[in-house]
Amino acid sequence: MNDIHSDETAIEVRDLTVAYGQQPVLWDVDVSVPKGVLLAVLGPNGAGKTTFIKSILDLVPVAGGSIRIHGRPYRRNRSRVAYVPQRGSVDWDFPTHVLDVVEMGTYGRLGWFRRPGAAEREQALKALAQVEMTAYAHRQISQLSGGQQQRVFLARALVQDAEVYLMDEPFQGVDATTERTIVELLKRLRERGKTVVVVHHDLQTVQEYFDHVLLLNGRRIAAGPVAEVFTEENLRATYGGRVAFLSSLLTQRAP
């Protein structure tokens, strides 16, 4: 199970190409994500960021290329990967409560016909505590704010106790408290040696929150440590001319 590769690489993507109908969304993307890093996936709208994550998770059909998680294909290493979808991907008016949603994270290892019991409940409560949502455990999910919904999804991923976390825009439209909670959570995950891949929008916080970036725009523009890759030149190549404001940001914060 531990081949040489999996010692240092969490996710290995080779020649990944994804197309919807005849329209390609990702071409020939090569990325290797080292273990234990916080990676931000950046790019303009329609650059294929979500598609990138979903293709790792086998949620969209892949036209070509290979993806390995800890050295093995995703299908054989599924339990090591947890996914935090975009908040808007589900119906929040679904008749269920917070604890129940978090418990869903345990359904994979529970197996057929077994109901979640006291042990699963405990794990769910622990995960809720990590995102500071204990007080809301029995709240109907439609009564949550956007940030709280996001934290519920994070808790569901935590319950899975995975090695690799893939998050689709967790910072999208959340309040400041939630943003801080998520950032602290990301750092704790990194301390425990987990790998976290986050689709991200806010260029201003990249240097503060993450240590690796992947710049995407249909193709891979650049990937690597923030200090090396998050440069004006690369950003311009990713976003086109739309990042004039960034040069000031970069010089300001450059180490």
Binding site: M104, L110, P116
Partner: protein, 374 residues
């Protein structure tokens, strides 16, 4: 009235029909919850229409009118219909709703063509086949009930068995996939159960009205609870109640057809639930809005008075109503409300002042809501 009902119940046929309607209500109501939550409310309509050619073909092939054969034909056709809808939506530019509408009308038309074709064949005794169009609850027989009971039990058993999986694929299919569940197989299974629940109802309420039996109980139940299993139980209960209600009222009112009566019953339950269910119901919502509106006005006037007073040396300095009107619109009614609440007092015809508790509340509000000191 009670006499009439008890006479009805002692009638063997009525008992059989009521039992059938109850079984149907329970099965369709429970399954309908998943359908509604998965945004497949109209799929039920398409499936029930698509079942018609299946019934005709089953009869053409076997020449038998045994309920099991016809239900099997209906089920296969319904299942094939959903398969086509999914295929059209996935593989062509056709949108989901267009695929639904096309499938239901074309299959239904095809079924109709077959039925009329059968009718005009000299040898066939087709009587009874067209009861599937509008349903003929009164014609339900012991063997129909047995089939309904058998299928209903299997459907409900499988639903409980795969409860957590069905719940998860209904709430978040992508998460289900990443957790390692075979989403597509579960989806097929749930659709198969859904088709089964529909076909056992065709004979009772007919092709056209079956979709109401699927969605309406679920829609009503959703208003009363935020827990999925409670919702299922309630939906089954509402389905059963309207089944019995429809059968009884069609026994009491001459010419009243059973299927439409059942649908009108369940529709009435939906309307009542939308209006009066606690928390979600419209009546409750309006009351809440009115109350919070009141509260807001009370607070606004209190704060105005407090701010005015803070420009003077005493907090209970009286202010004229005109000034308050100018600050927060028509204040008179709110001032009277404040008086009954003991938060303000009338000094004379024109002037009002805060009471002690009013001052306290106003100070709290100013600090909390407006984030400023006096």
């Amino acid at each position: 009235m009670m006499d009439a009902i008890s006479t009805l119940f002692s009638d063997y046929t009525v008992r059989t029909v009521a039992l059938g309607a109850t079984l149907l209500g329970i099965t369709a109501g429970a399954l309908g919850c998943f359908a509604m939550l998965r945004r497949q409310s109209l799929l039920g309509d398409a499936i029930s229409h698509a079942a018609l050619p299946g019934i005709a073909i089953a009869f053409l092939i076997t020449g038998s009118k045994s309920p099991l054969v016809l239900v099997l034909g209906a089920g296969l056709a319904g299942w094939f219909g959903t398969f086509l809808i999914t295929g059209l939506t996935r593989r062509t530019r056709i949108t989901h709703d267009t695929a639904l509408a096309m499938l239901l009308s074309v299959f239904f038309g095809f079924g109709l063509m077959l039925l009329t074709f059968i009718q005009r064949r000299p040898d066939a005794n087709q009587a009874g086949l067209d009861s599937f169009l509008f349903g003929q609850a009164a014609a339900l027989m012991q063997r129909d009930i047995q089939v309904m009971f058998g299928i209903g039990c299997v459907v409900l058993f499988l639903m409980t068995l795969f409860w957590k999986e069905f719940k998860l694929i209904s709430f978040d299919a992508e998460a289900a996939h990443t957790l390692g569940l075979p989403v597509r197989a579960l989806d097929h299974l749930l659709t198969a159960l859904f088709v089964s629940a529909i076909v056992i109802g065709l004979q009772t309420v007919g092709v056209v009205l079956m979709s109401a039996m699927i969605i309406a109980p679920a829609a009503a139940a959703r208003q009363w609870t935020d827990r999925l299993w409670v919702m299922m139980g309630l939906a089954a209960f509402f389905g059963a109640v309207s089944g019995v209600g429809g059968v009884l009222s069609s026994g009491l009112v001459p010419h009243l057809p059973t299927g439409p009566a059942i649908v009108l019953f369940i529709s009435a339950i939906v309307v009542f639930s939308l209006l009066f269910a606690p928390n979600r119901g419209l009546a409750f919502r309006m009351m809440r809005q009115w109350r919070s509106g009141q509260e807001f006005r009370v607070d606004a006037v209190l704060v105005d008075m407090y701010r005015l007073a803070s420009q003077h040396e005493t907090v209970d300095h009286p202010h004229s109503e005109q000034v308050l009107n100018a600050m927060s619109g028509n204040a008179r009614r709110t001032l009277h409300l404040l008086e009954t609440l003991g938060l303000a007092q009338r000094i004379d015809d024109e002037h009002w002042a805060l009471t002690e508790s009013g001052t306290e509340r106003a100070r709290g509000l100013v600090e909390k809501r407006w984030g400023e000191g006096p």
